[in-house]
Structure formats: structure tokens, C-alpha cells
Symmetry: C2
Subunit: 386 residues, 2 copies
């Protein structure tokens, strides 16, 4: 029996990489569902290649085009956010690959969790905003949630066969992004084009900007808390420019484990899809002698203000990470549209963190409300900046 | 119930470190047996501190001194190699820590294996000479054999929760010892005093010389084959001068795992004693940001001729590793007594490998005979050199 996969957000960077892994292991995997939001052309061509049972296009405007293209292949086509949410609950799915970016992935993720379908989670905003709820739900339903991103995948791999109680701390490595060596004063000249050119990883736009501002590492820290059931002070960040050591775990006995590989997203994706098996071959190994050396340094949280804010939210807990994430999503969007400066992103985030009421034990409804409020507040604050 | 330990070779460096670990976890461990060979004073003082039930002094000349000193404490005292072999089979032992150096550890090790007592193995010569036999015996009796040495312990730790079939290769790191930066022409001036000053690890004499000649890494490669059930071409050596990454495993999917810690033998010893639990605290962690960088390079097997010979023996298999080990033990002994030069050690080893008959599938008796032959041949060849 092949493992039947639903790729949610298949037209994005992670979605495409996931399909390229699946393509190499057609004997193990088959595609049951593909969903995309805007890029109907790519969605159609993916569907023609992988022949899923169901395709959903998020933006209903493109429904007819997609439907017309795929009807001859006997592929069911739906449209709209609600359809995405519903197909995530299909019983024919063995695994949901959640590669939709942003908190909008939460509803289909929730559906998959409630249906006890194993989840390969590439999206980090959901874990950041509603991580405690997701962790509890996964534990109570016995649903496996495996990280896809390279850093939490590294931690996950270092922890197989180990006991969570033996974790002293985890250390998330960060390449430092394109602006690691820029002085603080040069930060004011950063354009979206500069922020999108990541030196190590090819990624989607949102995550590329987050990597450049190091908010990405802050989100990973919050996410890691709930992925691995840690306390905030058990999570550290370490700059490692080569992006070869993807993260480390320090155990209570002073021993440390690290996961390493070449910088290729297909490795953690393949691990998540194949878990608990490792799928042999088809990616190249790492030649440390050829590399010669690996470097490590402490992050500069004065320069990377977003990282400091994320750790503040991590420590504060409650709805604070949700506020941080919502504000950041809007700020990044506005930065990409050149409505605000790169250095204004943390101003937006900080403003929302300071002005939205803190709730220490938010319900799921309160978090969803807080997400809306955060976005609204961020948009309002941005208007005062323009 | 405390774990009852027998420390075989307690007066050597690893033995002492083992007792210092036990001393920190008196609530978990108790010492049932202590054995030493010559150093009766240290053995007596260890026995007074840890109050084992049984003490064995290898050299019978010291029996009365030890016996007189420990009788008032109601400690049973025996003497001689045969007694060491016999106490290894005591049913009151939960674990045997085999810290005797050289192939002379084989008989007590065999006894412990046949009695299905868990073994923490610090000795590598036994695995080198009779690894296949040990592996088969451990598997057929279901006896756990956990490595104590930092490199195989690193591999062992990287493999918990993983499947042996997913191993692509293992990479044993080597600090390179005191002569890493010496030119080949400078090798002829190496004295025992120089060879005993290891830059990273404080160790016993035999292993210090083996580290300086890199035979130690060759022995570890052969040992790793049987510890982890690998093929010879799955084992590599990588120079890593800082001795922080203790070894790595590359998996079939291109992902790699490494174990790291500060350079402190008590960490792998503690892991072996506590396995499958990690014992919390009491050693310091590692600060990678403070370290700044880690370096890796390929070994120079032309300069370190012993390493090339060991890999030759590893690939050839059969009785070849046993010959290599026996010849090396004698050569190191003669080097320490200043009877031969450092650069003559590989000449002795190579001569024995070339002149003693190869047996592809040796029985245990043939191996024991081969060990004797190797020592004899090495001693004879050394006479022609002096």
C-alpha cells in the first residue's frame, strides 16, 4: 500500500520540493490531494503530472479554468478556503503535508488533527500562534506531527530514541540571512529585493523576509517550544553561517547531538514523508574535510530586534506569540509592497505587543480573535508610519 | 536497587575515571568488584573507599599485602589472571566495566559474555582481535555491550532510535594527536615522552602512543565494524583537531548525526554506566559560540602509516586485525622501553602482517594462537632491528 498524501499549498516552494521528493519515490507515495491558492497554472500542471483524486484552488475566481483543465482526467476540483479546510479531513489521506504559509493554514490543520491524520508541518505560524492548542490536540488524539523545516527536523532527528526529560536545552542554528554582516546603520537601506536574496536557502517570500530579519528564528524558537514540549529558557539560537549543522540538542549529561546535511530542503521533507523510515539515496552526502571548518557565533539581538521581540513573546506566552505573528505577517506584507521600511517591521510588531491586551490562558476562540486584532492593529499602525 | 558494577582494571586511567563517576552517583551505583594488576596501593585505597565485595590483584606477588589491608573490611581478596577471569562471571554483577588494556582482557570479557552480564567496554584490543566472535556471542546471548570510548560512544548515541540498515557510513573523528603538524621527516626524532603528551585527552600509556601513531584510530575503525555490524567500506576517519565532535553517522538519506561534548572521558563513561538512562548534571556543557569554529581535514595516511595498515587489516578481515593488534602491542611496549624508534612501530606491524599465515575464517582457538604468534614474531623481528 502506498502512502496517500495531501499537499496543502503545493504551488509554493515547499509544496514544489515535496512533489519533487514524491516524484523520486513513486513506489512509496501517491498524491491524493493538491491545493493551491492563486497559481492555477502551476496547480493544473502538477495535477496533470501527479493525478490526485482531488484538487482545490483557494481563489474561487480560477475555479472554472482549473475545473475545465482537469475534468478530462477525472480529478475532482473544488474552490475556496472552506473547501481546503474540508478536504483536510478526507479519510483517504494517510498524511497531510501542510505547506500553506501563514496562520491561514490553521483551519485545515485543525481539521486534519481532529481527523487524526498524520501531519508533516512546514508551516510555522500556526505553531507560533496556537502551539499549545495544537500540542494538546496532537497528544490527546495521538496524532503524529512531524516537522518539515530543517531546524525542527534536526531537533526531531536528534531526539529519536532519546527521552524528552533528558533535554537540557535545544540550540537552533541560524545562517544569519543576507544581512548578518551589515552594520545596524546600513539596515535602513534594505529593499525587498535585497531581503529576498537569501545566501543559503531558496524559499518563499514571507519566510525569506523573516529570515533576513531573523524573525524566522524567533518563530522557530516559539514553534520548538510546542513541538518538543520545552520551557522557554530551554531554547537558544546560535549563528552558524554555513547552514550545515541544522540544529543541536544538549542533554542533561552534558552530551550534545547535532544533525547535519548539505543545504537542501528535500532532505528534511523526505525525512518527514518517510518517517519512521529513512528513504535511501538520491541526495548527496556532506564532505566535512572538503568544507574544512564550521563557524558559530552568538546572535546580535540589538541589530536583529525581531529576534529579541520573539524571545520576549516566547517568555511571556499566552496570546503574545499570536500577536507577534499576526503583526509580523502584516508588516512583512507591507514591506514587500514597499509601504514600510525593513527597519519598521519590528516597530509594527512591538506596537502591537504593547497595545493589545495580554491574555495568559487564551481559548482557541480568543486566539483567533487575537490574530484578527493583531492584523487590524498592525495595519492601522502602519498607516501612521506611511 | 542499585546497579552493581565490577570495574576490571580499576587502577588504570579509565578505571579511575569510572570510579569518579560512580562516586557522584552513589545512590545509583555500587561497586561489587575491583581488579587491578600491579598498582596494589591504588587498588587498596580504592577498595577502602568503595567497599566492594571482591578485590582481585592480578600480580600474585602482592596478594598478601592487599589481603592484609582489606581483611578488616570484610572484603574477599583473590589474586592472579585466572581469578580475574572467574570473578567476571559472578552472578551478583549487573554490569562489567572492562577497562583492562590489551588483548589480555579477552578472557574475563568472554566470561562476562557467557554469563550474559551487560558490558561497558573500554578495551578496544579485544574487539579488534576477536570482534566477530564477540559480536556473534553478544547477539546470540542477548548481552548488551556498550562502548565507553568517546568515538564509539558517539556513534552509539547517534544510532539510538535509528535502524542499522539506514547507515550509509560512520565517520570516526581523530584529534590527530601530538604529531599532527609534524613533517614526516621529523617523525624519526619522536621520543616516548613526546608521544605520551596528548594535546586533548589524558589517557593510559598504551593508548597515548597509539593515538600519537594514529593506530588508535585504526583500531577504532576495526572495533566499530563489530560494534555496529558494518562493512569495512562504511568506515571513515576524519581529522578534527578540537576533539569536540566525537564522531558522526551518515544515513542513507544524506542526513548526518554527530555527538559533541567537551573533552572529558567521564561523559561517555557516565553514558555507558547509566544506559539506557542519561544521568543528569555534574558535567559542563559546550559553548559553541565561545569556541567559534570547528575544523575538519582528511588524515595523512602516508605520514601515519599505522592508520593505513589498520585499514588494510580491516578490509582483509579474518585473523589480520588480530595479527596487527598483537604486533602493535609488542611494538608499543618496546617503543616505551626505548628499544625501538617510533617510526619502527609500523615496520614491526607490517612485517607480522606479511609473514604470518592468513586465515579468512579463524576459530576462537586460532585467534588466540594467532595472538601468541603475532607477539612472538613481533619480538623476534624487533631483535633484528636493535
Amino acid at each position: 500500500m502506498k502512502k496517500r498524501l495531501g499537499i496543502f499549498g503545493s504551488t509554493g516552494y515547499i509544496g514544489e520540493q515535496t512533489l519533487s521528493v514524491i516524484d523520486k519515490y513513486r513506489d512509496i507515495f501517491e498524491v491524493e490531494v493538491l491545493t493551491g491558492f492563486e497559481n492555477f497554472e502551476k496547480l493544473i500542471s502538477q495535477a496533470k503530472k501527479f493525478l490526485p483524486n482531488v484538487v482545490v484552488i483557494g481563489n474561487s475566481d480560477y475555479y472554472e479554468i482549473v475545473s475545465d483543465a482537469l475534468q478530462p482526467l477525472d480529478i475532482k476540483v473544488y474552490a475556496g478556503a472552506e473547501a481546503i479546510e474540508q478536504v483536510a479531513g478526507m479519510d483517504t489521506l494517510d498524511m497531510v503535508v501542510m505547506a500553506i504559509s501563514g496562520f491561514s493554514a490553521f483551519k485545515p490543520l485543525k481539521t486534519a488533527l481532529e481527523n487524526k491524520t498524520a501531519i508533516a508541518l512546514a508551516n510555522k505560524e500556526c505553531m507560533v500562534s496556537a502551539g499549545e492548542w495544537i500540542r494538546k490536540k496532537a497528544l490527546s488524539t495521538g496524532t503524529i506531527v512531524i516537522p518539515v523545516d530543517s531546524e525542527p527536523s534536526a531537533i526531531f532527528q536528534c531526539l529519536v530514541g532519546e527521552s524528552t526529560k533528558d533535554i537540557d536545552k535545544i540550540i537552533l542554528t541560524a545562517s544569519g540571512g543576507p544581512f548578518l554582516r551589515l552594520s545596524e546603520s546600513q539596515f535602513k537601506n534594505i529593499t525587498p529585493e535585497m531581503a529576498l536574496r537569501h545566501p543559503k536557502w531558496k524559499m518563499g517570500k514571507k519566510i525569506s523576509v523573516d529570515s533576513a530579519s531573523m524573525m524566522n528564528k524567533g518563530l522557530e524558537a516559539i514553534e520548538a517550544r510546542w513541538f518538543f514540549g520545552l520551557k522557554p529558557d530551554q531554547i537558544e539560537v546560535l549563528i552558524h553561517e554555513e547552514a550545515i549543522v541544522h540544529s543541536l540538542v544538549q542533554f542533561s549529561d552534558g552530551s550534545m547531538k547535532a544533525q547535519l546535511s548539505i543545504t537542501d530542503m528535500r532532505i528534511p521533507i523526505q525525512y518527514a514523508l518517510g518517517y519512521p523510515e529513512r528513504l535511501a539515496g538520491k541526495t548527496s552526502g556532506l564532505d566535512l574535510a572538503k568544507m574544512g571548518s564550521l563557524h558559530f557565533e552568538a546572535p546580535d539581538i540589538k541589530k536583529f530586534r525581531n529576534l529579541a521581540l520573539a524571545f520576549e513573546a516566547l517568555k511571556k506566552g499566552g496570546n503574545m506569540p499570536c500577536i507577534l505573528n499576526a503583526a509580523n505577517e502584516i508588516a512583512v506584507q507591507e514591506f514587500l509592497q514597499k509601504n514600510i521600511e525593513f527597519i519598521q517591521i519590528p516597530l509594527v510588531v512591538e506596537n502591537c505587543m504593547k497595545t493589545i491586551s495580554f491574555i495568559s490562558n487564551p481559548s482557541l476562540d480568543e486566539l483567533l480573535e487575537c490574530d484578527r486584532k493583531g492584523r487590524k492593529k498592525a495595519a492601522e499602525f502602519i498607516k501612521t508610519l506611511i
